[in-house]
């Protein structure tokens, strides 16, 4: 076993001082050491996207980053989406459009979508499908996920007008 390292993770505006082996993935550190179990782990080899979080605003697979590598970066997880008790528009849209069933992939889709819409508020449908093809869902058939994200995108465009 390698020596544990003391690191600080900045997650959703909170500093978490944790001690981890270098091999601990960011997803495991978030879940086990920070107690933030909203980030689910579906494959641990970077394909399913359930563990997607935002690192400096960009969606990344937290199972493919070691926790020690995340020091000094701003991390956001599903637990940080809602603010002041109000759901993030994507969270509400996922509920309204029945964009989740078992919910296991949902955190990943929410973070993928949140990061994407923040970077590209005007993203067109084709590009949005390309982005959403990054993550796997086994329940919904994706139709309602796409519908939910488009609804939030369109509302954002409307508001910006």
């Amino acid at each position: 076993m390698a020596t544990k390292m003391a690191i600080t993770l900045h997650v959703n505006g909170t500093e978490h001082e944790v001690r981890v082996e270098p091999r601990r993935t960011l997803s495991d550190a978030l879940r086990t050491d920070c107690g933030l179990t909203g980030t689910n782990v579906g494959c641990e080899h970077g394909v399913c996207g359930a563990c997607t979080v935002l690192m400096d605003g960009v969606p990344v697979r937290s199972c493919l980053i070691f926790a020690v590598q995340a020091q000094g970066h701003e991390l956001r997880t599903v637990e940080g989406l809602a603010s002041d008790g109000a759901l993030h528009p994507l969270q509400q849209a996922f509920i309204d459009n029945h964009a989740l069933q078992c919910g296991f992939c949902t955190s990943g889709f929410l973070m993928l979508s949140a990061g994407t819409l923040e970077q590209q508020p005007d993203i067109d449908d084709e590009a949005l499908r390309e982005v959403l093809s990054s993550n796997l869902c086994r329940c919904t058939g994706y139709q309602n996920i796409l519908r939910a994200v488009r609804q939030v995108r369109d509302a954002g465009k409307e508001a910006a007008r």
Binding site: P22, T25, V58, C63, I65, S133, S134
Partner: protein, 285 residues
């Protein structure tokens, strides 16, 4: 699916990175950049590095620039950097098309161009680009810096000319001259999957005739390569369906396809012909 133990050594400069590599390479140490291929193989316990030299914090590696007619891609430039053309010419536009076939959006935010070259997966899009366009790989170590031509870089499946203590510091790709046309096509089972066949073609348009034609294949053999017999068919000919089809047939005839349980050599041979023809058909300037 958890990686085995390793020691982690973050480098803050290129010099520090090569120094760490010199120290740890003999002890199963290796470089981690984006880690989007390395970490899964560690998770599956197919790779057991004892030391990881992390170059994500090396500022100078994150730059992409044009210098002396070449696009210079630093060791830690992410795939995502290419979503928008990194230079205004045909090469920048070509790369911005190719990047969409590389894995998925979040993977592209983290994985790196040079990492793909160092990993040398036969199905890597960037390896195909490097092989077809004649990129030069700049390897650094405490022993010095050397430049490796694309033709000498690939040594079979996931093997390169890079020595254990060397770091791929940058890749230099010659810019495509004005008037170039280039096309890329890959065939995969699903969006974002590894290609079963892919082709990159480029030529200079000389008043309607093709000059300096390049045809590269990927995901077909143990490494990407240009097909000289097919390229020879292009010179001086108009860019026509007939020329494309002949070139495609020549490629199919020339390759020695990999075979696996899912994909026969014959099917791959067939696919690469289609991929070459479609790369031509979809070529843009």
């Amino acid at each position: 699916m958890k990686a085995g133990s390793f020691e982690w050594h973050p480098a803050r400069s290129a010099d520090e990175a090569v120094a760490l590599l010199a120290e740890y390479a003999p002890q199963d140490g290796r470089v981690i950049a984006g880690g989007q291929s390395l970490v899964p193989s560690m998770a599956l316990r197919l790779a057991f590095p004892a030391h990881l030299i992390d170059i994500n914090g090396v500022e100078e590696f994150s730059r992409v620039r044009v210098e002396a007619g070449e696009l210079v891609v630093g060791a830690c430039v992410r795939h995502a950097a290419f979503h928008q053309p990194v230079e205004p010419g045909p090469l920048g536009r070509l790369l911005s098309r190719v990047v969409h076939d590389i894995a998925h959006w979040p993977i592209r935010q983290r994985g790196t161009f040079c990492g793909s070259l160092a990993n040398a997966d036969p199905a890597s899009e960037w390896c195909l680009v490097a092989a077809t366009l004649g990129a030069r790989m700049v390897a650094r170590s405490v022993r010095g810096t050397r430049v490796i031509e694309a033709a000498d870089w690939f040594h079979g499946i996931m093997t390169t000319a890079l020595a254990d203590d060397e770091l791929l510091a940058e890749v230099r790709i010659p810019l495509l001259p004005t008037g170039s046309r280039a096309g890329f096509y890959e065939f995969s089972r699903r969006a974002g999957d590894y290609a079963l066949a892919m082709a990159l073609v480029a030529w200079r348009d000389d008043g309607g005739r093709m000059r300096e034609g390049r045809i590269g294949t990927g995901s077909i053999e143990v490494q990407p390569r240009r097909i000289a017999t097919a390229e020879a068919l292009l010179d001086g000919r108009p860019a026509s369906a007939e020329a494309f089809a002949e070139a495609a047939a020549a490629v199919s005839a020339a390759v020695d396809p990999l075979e696996d349980f899912h994909t026969s050599a014959g099917y791959r041979r067939d696919l690469i012909g289609t991929a070459v023809r479609r790369a031509f058909e979809q070529a843009g300037d």
